[in-house]
C-alpha cells in the first residue's frame, strides 16, 4: 500500500464579522480561496479536488457545494464533494481532505468551510438537527444542552462562574492579536462577562460564542507536491473521530466522553504521552466558556474536575505551558461550517511560525479539535515534520 504524508501548504481566512452584507455567498468564500491560492502560489487550475462544507439549512441552499464550488472555488470541471456534519463540519472537512491526499487519489486538495448565518437562522436550524417528536419541542438550539452541561459540570466539581468568565477574558483578549477574529476585546474584564445578561442559566451572554459569517480555506498536498510549494508546511500526524448516541442526552455529557476516546487514539498515533508536555499549543472548540474548562479535562490536559485549576494556574494562558486558543477560539469567532476548520488553520499557522502577535514560541506539535452533533469530537494533531 502506498500511504502518503499530508501537509497544509496554503491558508486563507476572511475577516470574520457578524454580518457580511457587502458580499454574496460565493464572493465571501472567494476571499478565503484566493488568499489560500496566493499563499501556496498555486494557480486555480493546479488544484486537483475541492472539498467544501457548510450546513445547508442555515442559508437555505440545498447542495450548496454545487453553487459555491463552481462560483467561488476553481471547481469547474473538477471534483467537488461536500461533507457536512454540523458543528464538526470544519474538522470533518479537514479529515476528509487528509484522506483524499493520504490515499494517493489526489496530489493536492482545497478544503473550504464557510457559513453566512445571518442569511438564515442558526438556532432554528440547529433545533431541526434533533428528533422532531422527542427533542425539538423543548430544545432551545445548541445553547440549551450546553447550559445543562455547564450546570451539571459546575454542580459536580464546584467550578465557579468566575472561573468560566476567565476563559472568555483569555480567549477574547487573545483574539485581539488575531486580525481575522470576529470579537476582539483587548480590554475585556471578568466583570464585563459576569454582568452580561443571563441567557440560559448558568450561561451569560458573554459565556457564549457569537454567530459569525466568513470562510476558511486550506490547501493540502502530499510530500512530493509540498516540496515544490513550500519549505514551511504543517504536517498531519493524526486524525481521529469519535461519535456518540443519536439522542445526545442518553448519557451525562458534560465530561465529553468522545473527547477522551478520540484524543487517546490520536495521542497514541502521534506519539504523545503527556499532552501538557508533548503538545505546544491547542486550538480547541469551546462553544461556551464552561466548555473549555470541561473539554481540557476530556482531552487529558488535567484530571477530571481540575479544568478550572488548570486555567487558574495559568497553564492554558498565552504565557503558560500549553496555550489554549491563542486565536481567540470559538468564543471569539463562530461561522459554524468553518469554525472547526479555523482551528486546523490556526494550529497550522502556529506550526509554521506565522502567528505574528498570537504566535506561541517554538511550536513543534499542535492540536486542533472539532465538536458538534450529539457530542461528537474530532481531533487533528499537526507537527513541524512528517511523522516517522
Amino acid at each position: 500500500m502506498t500511504k502518503h504524508d499530508v501537509a497544509v501548504v496554503g491558508i486563507g481566512q476572511t475577516k470574520f464579522r457578524s454580518k457580511r452584507r457587502d458580499v454574496n455567498i460565493p464572493e465571501m468564500i472567494y476571499e478565503a480561496v484566493k488568499m489560500a491560492l496566493d499563499d501556496a502560489q498555486l494557480e486555480p487550475k493546479e488544484i486537483d479536488a475541492i472539498i467544501i462544507g457548510n450546513m445547508d439549512h442555515f442559508e437555505g441552499i440545498n447542495f450548496s457545494e454545487l453553487l459555491c464550488g463552481i462560483e467561488a472555488a476553481p471547481g469547474y470541471l473538477k471534483p467537488v464533494v461536500k461533507v457536512a456534519t454540523g458543528g464538526t463540519t470544519g474538522s470533518s472537512l479537514a479529515i476528509c481532505g487528509y484522506h483524499n491526499v493520504a490515499s494517493g487519489i489526489y496530489d493536492n486538495v482545497l478544503v473550504v468551510g464557510w457559513e453566512k448565518l445571518n442569511e438564515g437562522g442558526a438556532t432554528t436550524g440547529i433545533i431541526t438537527a434533533f428528533d422532531p417528536v422527542w427533542e425539538r419541542p423543548s430544545l432551545a438550539g445548541a445553547l440549551g444542552p450546553l447550559a445543562l452541561m455547564a450546570g451539571m459540570y459546575s454542580a459536580k466539581y464546584g467550578i465557579t462562574a468566575e472561573q468560566a468568565a476567565k476563559v472568555t477574558v483569555k480567549n477574547r483578549s487573545n483574539a485581539a492579536n488575531n486580525p481575522f477574529a470576529h470579537l476582539q476585546m483587548p480590554n475585556i474584564t471578568i466583570d464585563y462577562v459576569m454582568s452580561s445578561q443571563m441567557i440560559a442559566y448558568p450561561l451569560r451572554l458573554h459565556d457564549c460564542c457569537p454567530q459569525s459569517e466568513g470562510a476558511c480555506a486550506l490547501i493540502y498536498a502530499n510530500e512530493q507536491e509540498t516540496k515544490k510549494i513550500t519549505d514551511n508546511p504543517a504536517w498531519f500526524h493524526a486524525v481521529e473521530t469519535a461519535h456518540y448516541y443519536t439522542f445526545g442526552t442518553d448519557d451525562k455529557m458534560f465530561d465529553l466522553p468522545t473527547a477522551t476516546i478520540a484524543s487517546k487514539k490520536a495521542y497514541k498515533k502521534a506519539g504523545i504521552k503527556n499532552p501538557i508536555k508533548d503538545l505546544d499549543v491547542a486550538e480547541i472548540y469551546e462553544p461556551t466558556s464552561w466548555s473549555e474548562l470541561s473539554w481540557t479535562e476530556g482531552l487529558g490536559f488535567c484530571k477530571p474536575g481540575e479544568g478550572g485549576k488548570l486555567l487558574d494556574e495559568g497553564i492554558t494562558q498565552m504565557s503558560g505551558e500549553l496555550p489554549v486558543n491563542p486565536s481567540g477560539g470559538v468564543l471569539s469567532t463562530n461561522p459554524i461550517g468553518a469554525t472547526a476548520l479555523v482551528r486546523v488553520a490556526e494550529a497550522a499557522i502556529q506550526i509554521m511560525g506565522r502567528g505574528e502577535k498570537r504566535q506561541v514560541p517554538d511550536v513543534e506539535k499542535a492540536l486542533a479539535m472539532g465538536f458538534g452533533g450529539s457530542l461528537w469530537t474530532e481531533i487533528m494533531i499537526l507537527g513541524k515534520n512528517p511523522l516517522r
Binding site: 454545487l66 467537488v80 487519489i105 473521530t241
Partner: protein, 383 residues
Amino acid sequence: MTKIGKVAIVGVAQTKYEKDKIDQTYSELVFEVVKKLHNDLGITNDDVGCVITSSNDFNDGRTIANMAIQDAVGSVRKAESRVSGDGAFAFMYGAMRILSESYDTVMVVSHCKCSEVNQYLVNNTIFDPYYQRHLGLDQISSAGLMANMYMNKYGVTEEQAAKVVVKNRKNALNNPYAHLREEITIKDVLNSKMMAYPLKELDFPPFSDGAVAMLLAKEDVAKKMTETPVWFKGYGNCTDAYYLGNRNMTDLIGLELAAKEAYRMAGINKPNKNLDVCEVSENFSVHELMIYEALGLCDKGEGGKFIESGETEMNGSIPVNPSGGVLSSNPTMANGLIRVAEIALQLQGKADKRQISNAKTGLAYGMNGICSQGNCVLIFGGE
C-alpha cells in the same frame, strides 16, 4: 497521480425500494441494511473500522441528517463521517479511508426517504436564491429543457427515449428490490401526462424510500472475508457548471471527463469491449441516451440509435441497468450507491435473475445536483 493500493467490496445489502415506508424511522430503515450486512458477512460491529454515510438535510428534514442514524450504523464511540450528497461519492470517501491505511474495513451506508417531503420543493431549493429559484425550477423543468435541446440538436425522437423506459422497467421484473416492477409499452410512455415538454410522466422515475449498505475492506482482509471480492479499479469525479445557462445542455461534459479519468485509472481503452455491464443513474429517459454518449459507449448524437440497436439490453453487448435503474427505483440520495451495489452483485455472480453472464468489469455512475452537474464514475473488477 501516484500508484494506489487495493480496496474491495466484500458484501452489500439493500432494502426493498417502496413508495412510502411509513412505519420506519430513518434509524430503523438504516438498521435494516446494516444488520443484514453484518449477518450476511458473519461479522459484528467490532469488525467495522468506521462508517461513511450519505444523506441530505433537506430531504430528511433534519440538519445533520446523519445524527439520526448514529445508533443504527453502530458509530457510538467510533468514527463516522458523512458526505452530503449521492452515495457514490460516499463510496469513494470510504475507499480513501482504506487506501490511506487508516482503517482495515469501512462500512458505507446511504439512505433516502422521498415520502417525507415534497420532492419538487426540495429540488427547487437546490437553485440559488438570487436568480434561478424564483423561476420555480426543479429537476423536472430542468430535465425538460435539457431533453428538448438535446433531442433538437441530434434528432432524437420521443419513441427512442421511451425505449429506455421500456427496457429498464422490464429489467426491474428480475430485481426483487425494485420499486416499480411492471412492464410498460412505448405507447404507455408516449400517452402519459406531459410534465415538462417533451418529457412525460413515464419519462421520469418514481419517488422511492430505501437504503443500501456495503462493506469495504483492504486487500488481505477482503480475501479472507469472501471468495468473490469486488475490486475498486477506477474513479473519476467531475463537476459541471452551476447555472443552467452556463451548461452545455446537449452533452454531459462533466460525465464525459469523469468517465475518461475513471477509464484511465482502470486501464480501459474501449469501454464497449472492456466493460461487461453498466449501472447508471438515469434521472429521466433521455438522460440515459446522453449518458451512453458521455461514457463513450456510442458516438456523440447517436444515443437514440444506440438504444434501438439493442446493445444495451440484457442480451446485448453492453447491458445498461440490468437492475432497472433509477427509472424503476429512485431513493434520490442512495441512487449512486445502489448502482455500486448492483455492480458488486454482478461481479460476484450473485445477481440471480438479472445476472449478466461472465461479468468481470463493471461501471457504476452516481450523480449530484440538477441534471448531472456532479458526476462520480466508478469502475470495478472481479479480479
